[in-house]
């Protein structure tokens, strides 16, 4: 805030929220004396803030918290377990594919196997992507199956 406090929308907000230093506050109040239109604006917004002050948002129904953390925890645990499973599956798929291709003597067969494993990897990646995207949208995930 500059040393000489200007009368702006920003300083009015800062004044009302108690964000001005004592010196800036004194300067601002001195300026208010010369600007009746700003004085009215400050009084109007101060009255509004005084009306807001005793209000607080009503807490939601207690039932909202039933199983709240447990469901989050389950998702965190499931996600960690799934990540390990997917990583393991990917490693097995790639290792197996490389071994099979290397051990195949016929180049044409090798090409066929490479295409087959490439297709399988794509399916795997698509399934993984689908699961990651769908999981949060499952409307029935709170129901224990």
């Amino acid at each position: 805030m500059p040393a000489k406090t200007p009368m702006t929308e920003e300083t009015i907000a800062a004044y009302l929220d108690g964000e001005l230093s004592p010196a800036e506050r004194r300067e601002f109040e001195r300026l208010l004396g010369d600007h009746p239109e700003w004085r009215a604006e400050v009084a109007s917004q101060a009255a509004l803030m005084a009306a807001i002050q005793p209000l607080k948002v009503k807490p939601p129904r207690a039932a909202v918290w039933d199983g709240y953390w447990e469901q989050i925890d389950e998702r965190l645990a499931r996600r960690t377990g799934q990540s390990v499973m997917y990583a393991g599956a990917a490693v097995l798929l790639v290792t197996g594919a490389v071994l099979i291709i290397l051990l195949t003597p016929n180049p044409l067969l090798q090409l066929g196997e490479a295409l087959f494993f490439a297709g399988l990897s794509m399916l795997f990646a698509l399934a993984l992507r689908g699961r990651l995207r769908e999981a949060p949208k499952d409307r029935y995930r709170r129901i224990r199956r």
């Binding site: 009306a51 807001i52 209000l55 948002v57 925890d73 998702r75 965190l76």
Partner: protein, 200 residues
Amino acid sequence: MAGPEDSQHHALDAAAERRLVEAARRGDRHAYGELVEAHRERLFAAAFALVRNEEDARDLSQDAFVKAYNALDRFDTARPWYPWLYRILRNACLNHLKKHGPHRTTSLDRMADEDHMQFEAAADDPVERIQTEQMARHMRQAIGQLKPDFREIILMKHFQEMTYEEIATVLDIPIGTVMSRLFHARKNLAKLMEPYRVGS
């Protein structure tokens, strides 16, 4: 994990919060549970203010906690955690509204929602309490009539009790813009509250 009877906002000081975030980063889900416990009410209220549906607000706030956990490595522990979490929630809510639109609820749901959206009157004196409750009703209606940018900043400042810096971080705008937006939001709200002798 505490049950619903313990659902009041649990204040965490910055150091305790940082310790919990660091522990959660190392995979300590119990520590993360404490963070969830401390912030769930505030985050739910923020989600509810954006999507106006209790079930969606619950799902979206849970999603935000899950996403935040998975992205903890990217969080700068020198900063407060809540604005970062709020930002994740806000993006999720905006995507949700883009997909489902703001009028997802049925009229019956909406009635229930609006009843829940009421502000609580904190006064002890019965007369003062009735007056405050009336004021709360008018205030809720007036806030509902504000344009979304203004409604959001009023809720962030006055009901989520965020600082200018936190609001600037969440909305990705300069602090000067936070101040001027707050000025205009309050000016508009005061105008809407004029019939009830507030701001006049």
